[in-house]
């Protein structure tokens, strides 16, 4: 069995000769992981997902799913993948059960799965109501139900929490965590909700302007942040504190009247505090900058 559920090598794509949407993407989604695929609008997230699902013809590079080439094993691989790309693909004139019955025939899964997944996503009580009359959150759930119907080994979800209220987001997160934990389902989630991704994923890929800026375990992103962590220091004498810290070999600058120290871990922050106090400075503020995923994200896409 391949180490990676999805692996792309040198994946590039252009919609027009002048418009390179993807440039040399080496995506590696480890099998059994919860992979967060992050990027601003127009970064190339959806284009990448569509290429992985075979919705776009691969122009340059290669795509392997479960270690098998997508181009030659498309149908067999799609049988193991569940997906929801962009807006949920639902037949508005059909009920939730009828929508699932459409795909139950295609996937050849037992008819009882329709009731099971409806219960799983909380849509058991919709009866004969047409899907076109559902709220956005209900449509999102039904889209997820379609993706889960055949118990896939790999789930590819594009903005799965779009339109869900906080309770719904929590339920979605719990469901995805349970699928990953209990069934070993590899889940690739693209999202703009950085705070949600941070609480959900084990691995992260950050894409910007068609290039993969970072990829790896979430823990390594945190380590990167610690290595690049910054500390804002506000004392009774900021220019003096700046001189002291520069003199001790720290990388620092004065910014908006405060001292900004580069490459500081939490332990080092304590040491800086002790050093300043010992030198007679009154420390008024000691604030770590950019420890969360959001700051990391904006740092990477900004570079």
């Amino acid at each position: 069995m391949s180490e990676f559920a999805i692996e792309t090598i040198g994946l590039s794509h252009r919609f027009t000769p002048a418009d390179a949407v993807l440039q040399g993407i080496h995506l590696q989604v480890p099998a059994g992981s919860l992979y967060g695929f992050l990027g601003p609008n127009g970064a190339g997230k959806t284009t990448t997902l569509r290429l992985v699902l075979g919705l776009l013809r691969c122009q340059e590079g290669s795509i392997r799913v479960f270690g098998e080439p997508l181009e030659s094993q498309r149908v067999a691989l799609l049988r193991r993948i569940g997906s929801s790309i962009e807006s949920p693909s639902l037949y508005a004139h059909l009920s939730a059960a009828e929508n699932l019955a459409v795909w139950q025939r295609v996937f050849g899964c037992p008819a009882r799965r329709v009731g099971e997944v409806l219960h799983q996503v909380g849509l058991s009580g919709t009866g004969g109501k047409a899907a076109g009359q559902f709220s956005l959150g209900m449509k999102q759930r039904l889209g997820l139900a379609v993706a889960l119907l055949h118990q896939p080994e790999l789930l590819i979800l594009d903005e799965p929490t779009n339109g869900l209220d906080p309770h719904g987001i929590l339920e979605m997160r719990d469901l995805l965590l349970q699928l990953n934990r209990d069934h070993g389902t590899t889940i690739l989630v693209s999202s703009h909700l950085l705070s949600e991704v941070e609480r959900l994923v084990t691995h992260v890929g950050i894409i910007s302007r068609g290039r993969l800026k970072f990829q790896g375990p979430l823990a390594s992103l945190a380590e990167r942040q610690q290595a690049l962590g910054r500390l804002t220091v506000h004392t009774s004498d900021n220019p003096g504190a700046f001189e002291l810290l520069i003199g001790t070999g720290r990388s620092a600058c004065l910014e908006q009247g405060r001292v900004l120290v580069q490459g500081v871990s939490p332990i080092e922050a304590g040491a800086i505090n002790q050093q300043l106090v010992a030198s007679g400075f009154t420390v008024l503020e000691l604030t770590p900058v950019g420890r969360d995923l959001e700051h990391q994200f904006f740092d990477l896409i900004g570079n």
Partner: protein, 261 residues
């Protein structure tokens, strides 16, 4: 391959539940029979003579199929095909269809089979309607007498088969257009334009060039209004041949489409 086709076909049929397709077939197929029923009741004095001569059903059939073959069938094929293919565009579900474990051939053939089945259902509704339009006057109007004329089943089935085959080129063209273009006005517009052009040419020696009225040409030949000598081959051969070529071309365009989202 066959199990996958049947599963796909079943799923395609489910997609058409609660759609307008059923109403389109019912209303489109009943339109001419309803008019013929009114005509039979209005001209009830003709009926006893036709029945005495045993030619009632032949006359009834011939009169009914004039407008059906020239006008109703071509336009109904245009509308049926467009409506069936529009389900995916209207619901933005092509990406889900193409991300499902089906070959392009399975998807293409299942959708084509649904269109052909809908056309068959249209023929059933038309024939049922024509039967009722022929049989009901005798029940409603005493002067009509009994329908003593025997129904030439084999001949009528044969004529139905002719018209069904001759609709196939229209199915192929409309299927190709409706598959390719999101905007329904393109296949409907091209279909209506093609039908009008075929009407303009129907009484000329070039009438076979536009396949939108093979059914009308067949009607004119069967009722001796045209000889059919201008045709390079029989209408069946022309219809089957153009259907095969157009369907293969349609599949080639569909399977090679770079963006299937």
């Amino acid at each position: 391959m066959l199990p996958a086709f049947f599963s796909s076909f079943q799923s395609e049929r489910i997609k058409l539940r609660r759609s307008l397709l059923g109403w389109l077939i019912l209303c489109g197929g009943s339109f001419v029979p309803a008019i013929m029923l009114a005509v039979r009741i209005r001209r009830q004095q003709q009926l006893p003579a036709w029945h005495r001569l045993g030619i009632f059903w032949e006359k009834h059939w011939t009169e009914s199929w004039e407008s059906l073959s020239i006008m109703i069938l071509p336009l109904m094929v245009v509308l049926l095909t467009t409506l069936i293919l529009q389900v995916e565009y209207r619901n933005n579900t092509w990406k889900q269809v193409h991300a499902s474990p089906q070959t392009w051939g399975t998807i293409f053939s299942a959708k084509l089979a649904v269109v052909l089945l809908a056309l068959l259902e249209l023929f059933v509704v038309i024939n049922l309607g024509l039967y009722l339009a022929g049989a009901l006057p005798s029940l409603l109007v005493s002067a009509g007498g009994t329908t003593s004329s025997p129904i030439p089943w084999l001949r009528l089935l044969g004529r139905n088969a002719h018209y069904f085959i001759e609709c196939l080129p229209i199915v192929a063209i409309q299927f190709m257009l409706a598959l390719r273009f999101r905007n329904f006005l393109v296949p409907v517009g091209v279909g209506v334009a093609g039908w009008i052009l075929s009407l303009v040419l129907i009484d000329t020696d070039y009438n076979f060039l536009i396949p939108y009225n093979y059914t009308g040409i067949d009607y004119l030949i069967s009722t001796a209004h045209r000889s059919g000598q201008n045709l390079p081959a029989s209408l069946w051969v022309l219809a089957c041949g153009s259907f095969a070529v157009l369907t293969l071309a349609s599949y080639a365009l569909y399977s090679r489409q770079a963006d299937k989202g």
